[in-house]
Amino acid sequence: MATTRNKNRMLFLGVGLSTVSLLLTGCGAGSSNDGGGESEAGEFTTLSVVENTTIPAVLETLAGDQCKTAADAMPLKVDTVPQTSLDQQLQLQAGQGALPAQFAAGSAPALTKELADSGNVLDLEATLNDLGVIDQVEPAAIDTVKALYGGFNVLPYEYNVEGIWYNKQLFADNNIEVPATWDDFTAAAETLNSSGVTPLSASGEQGWPLTRLISGYLFSDLGKDALQKVADGEAKLTDPEYVEAAAAVADLGSKGYFGEGIGSIDYDTAVNQFLTGEAGMLYMGSWVLANFNDEAANQIGAENIGFMPFPKVDGGAGIDNQYAANVGLPMAISEKAYNDQTGEWLSCITENYGSVGLAEKGAISGFKVNEEVDVDPLTQTVQDTIADTSESVLWFEALFGTQATTASQTNAAPLVTGSMSPEQFMDTVQSALK
C-alpha cells in the first residue's frame, strides 16, 4: 500500500514537473524574443524588400571594402520580404520587440511615425551629430525626410524624382513630340496604342504606379496642396474634382493603354516591358536607373530613354515641370538594437554610400558624393533635374495611414480594368482614411 502511494506520488511529481518544464520552455522562447536585437547582436541585420536589389548590393560592397572594420566586428546580414507585406512584417516584429538593427521604412510614413513614437526608431539627427557625420547627408534630403516622416528618422538611401520615362526611338518612329499637357499625353498614348505598342507599362500588382498617376493629375489640376487638404479634412476624395482625376486614369485603362492583365503585372514585369521595347512609357522614380544601367536587362539602350515631367492638366492650378520627389525606400535604425558597433556601421554608410552607390549602380541617394564619380548621361539628366527642381510634390498615399494606403493600392488595378468605378474607388479610399 505504502509503495503504491509512493508510486502515485512519484507519478504525480513526474507529470507535474514535465508540465512545468514544458511551460517554462514556452515562456523562455517568448522572453528571448523580447530582446530580439540582443539575440542577434552578432549581426548587422537589415530588413529590405525583395523588389529592391540596389541597396543590398551596395551594402555588400561596402561590407567588403570601405566598411570592412565595421563588418568584421558585426557582419552584414540582409533579409528581404515582398514590398506588399513589409508593413505587416514591421508591425509584427515591433509588437514582439524583435525589430532588426536596420529596416526598410513601411509603405505608409504614418507607420514609421508610430514606430518612432513608441521608441522603436533611432533619432538620426542626434545620433549622426554625435557620430560627427551629419554633414555627410544632403540638407535637402533631410528636409524631405522630416516633412514626410515627422523627424529625421530614416536614412535617405535613395533620393528620387519621379516622372515619366519614354522610349525615344518609339516616339520618333511614331512622330510623337514629348507631351507637355494631359491631352498631348493621351494623344501620344493613342498613337502608340494604334501602332501596336503598349503605351504605358505599370504594375497593377503593386498598385502605386497607378495611384501615382492619380496624384500627378490631382497636383497638376488642383495644386500642390490637393492631398494635404484631404489629410486635413478640408476636402474629400469623393468631391467631384478629385473623382475627375481617378476617372482620367480609369479612362486610360478602359482604352487599353496599360495592356492586358494589369492586375497580375508585378514590378519587374512592368520594368521589363519598358526595357524590351514592348511599352512606350513608364511612370517610375529615378531608382529605376539601376535597372536601366543593367545592360543585360536593358535591350533598348540607355541612350534611347528620355525623362519628362508629369503632363500638365489644361487650366490646372499646378506648377510647370512637376516632379514628385521622395526618398524612395529609406531605412530606419532600431533604437532598441542600437549599440557602438551599429554606430560604426552607421557612420561608415553615411560617409561612403553616396559615392559607392552612384559609381556602382548609378543610384542617386541623399548622402553626399565624396569622390569624383563619372556618371552616364541619363543619370546626369536626373541629377540635373533634381538640382533644378525648386518645388516638388508628394505621392498619393504619402499622408494616408496604412489602411487607406492598402485600400488605394489594392483597388488601383480594379479601377483601371473598369471593375470598379472612379466614384467607388475614391469612396473606398476615403472611408479607409481615419
Binding site: 511551460l23 508591425q91 508610430e114 513614437d117 492586358e260 492598402t406 470598379m420
Partner: protein
C-alpha cells in the same frame, strides 16, 4: 477501469496536464482576444478603451459585409462541390472500379498532399494572362477565343478559386466517404438488388441513408474548413482584385497586423467564431433529428 476513473487523484493526474496546456494555449488567448474587442490600438502604440465602438463599426463597415458575403458564398459553393464530387468519386470507387480503384484513388488523392501554396502558384500560372498567356488562355486562343484576364474581375477569380479548391480537396472527401460506403454490408445491397433496386434507386434508397452519418461529418468538416479559408486564397489572389475575394479571415488578419488595430480584428474574429458555431449547431441539430427518425 471503474476504480481508476473513480479515483479523483488519478483523474487529476491524467487530465490535469492536458487541461492546463489546453487552457493556456487555447482558452486564455480566446478570452484575451475577446477582451481586445473592447479596445483599440496595437502592441506598438498601446491600447485605449473603446467601449462598444468596435461592434458598431462591425455592423456599418462595408468591407465586413463584402468579406462576410464572400466567405458565405465560398463556403456554400465549395462545400457542395467538395461533397458532391467526393461522393461521386466514392460511388465510382465502390460500384464501378471496385477492387481496381487503388491507382485512381491515389491519383485523385495526390493534390491533397501537395502544399497549398504550390497548388496556388500552379493555378496562377495556368490562368495567367501577363506577361505571357498561361495554359488555359493558350487553349482558348487555340480554339479562336480571346484571352481572358481571369484574375481581373471578381467573378472569374471566384470561379478559379472554386475550381482550385475543389480539385485540391475532392480526393480527401472521396476517401472519407469511400470508407463510409465500404462499411455498408454487402448482403444488404445484395438483397436490395434481388428486390429489383438498381442504379439511382439503389443509391437513393439504400446507399444514401446508410452513409448518412459519414456524409454529415463530411459536411461539418467541409463547411468549417471553408469558412476559415485563408492560405489558398492568400496565395492565389491575395484577396484581389481590390478586396472582392477577401474572406473574413484575411480581413481580420490585415486589420490586426497590417492596419494595426487588434481590437477591431478581434471583433471580426468573434464574428467568424459565431458564424462557425451557428452553422455547426444547425447541422448537428438536423442530423440528430434524422437519426431519431430512423
Amino acid at each position: 477501469m471503474q476504480s481508476v476513473l473513480g479515483d479523483k487523484k488519478a483523474l487529476i493526474i491524467l487530465l490535469g496536464p492536458a487541461l492546463l496546456v489546453y487552457t493556456l494555449v487555447m482558452l486564455v488567448p480566446i478570452i484575451w482576444s475577446m477582451g481586445y474587442t473592447f479596445f483599440s490600438g496595437n502592441a506598438i502604440s498601446g491600447f485605449t478603451f473603446a467601449g462598444t465602438d468596435n461592434f458598431t463599426r462591425l455592423f456599418t463597415d462595408p468591407e465586413v459585409r463584402t468579406a462576410l458575403s464572400f466567405t458565405v458564398r465560398y463556403a456554400i459553393v465549395i462545400t457542395i462541390g467538395q461533397i458532391l464530387m467526393g461522393y461521386a468519386l466514392a460511388l465510382m470507387y465502390v460500384f464501378i472500379l471496385k477492387k481496381s480503384s487503388n491507382i485512381i484513388r491515389t491519383l485523385v488523392f495526390f493534390p491533397v498532399v501537395l502544399p497549398t501554396v504550390a497548388v496556388a502558384l500552379l493555378f496562377q500560372k495556368m490562368f495567367e494572362i501577363a506577361p505571357q498567356n498561361g495554359l488555359v488562355n493558350s487553349l482558348l486562343n487555340g480554339v479562336g477565343v480571346e484571352s481572358v484576364d481571369w484574375f481581373g474581375s471578381s467573378s472569374s477569380s471566384f470561379w478559379v478559386i472554386v475550381l482550385m479548391d475543389i480539385w485540391r480537396s475532392m480526393g480527401f472527401y472521396a476517401v472519407l466517404l469511400y470508407a463510409g460506403l465500404v462499411d455498408i454490408p454487402e448482403d444488404m445491397l445484395e438483397s436490395a438488388r434481388l428486390d429489383g433496386a438498381t442504379g439511382w434507386r439503389l443509391i437513393k434508397n439504400i446507399v444514401l441513408p446508410l452513409s448518412m452519418p459519414v456524409l454529415l461529418s463530411s459536411i461539418i468538416f467541409s463547411i468549417n474548413g471553408t469558412l476559415k479559408v485563408f492560405d489558398s486564397i492568400v496565395a492565389l489572389t491575395n484577396g484581389g482584385p481590390g478586396s472582392s475575394t477577401t474572406p473574413l479571415t484575411l480581413y481580420m488578419f490585415r486589420t490586426s497586423f497590417a492596419f494595426g488595430d487588434y481590437g477591431y480584428g478581434s471583433s471580426i474574429a468573434l464574428l467568424l467564431t459565431l458564424l462557425c458555431l451557428i452553422v455547426t449547431i444547425f447541422i448537428f441539430r438536423s442530423s440528430r433529428r434524422d437519426l431519431t427518425k430512423d
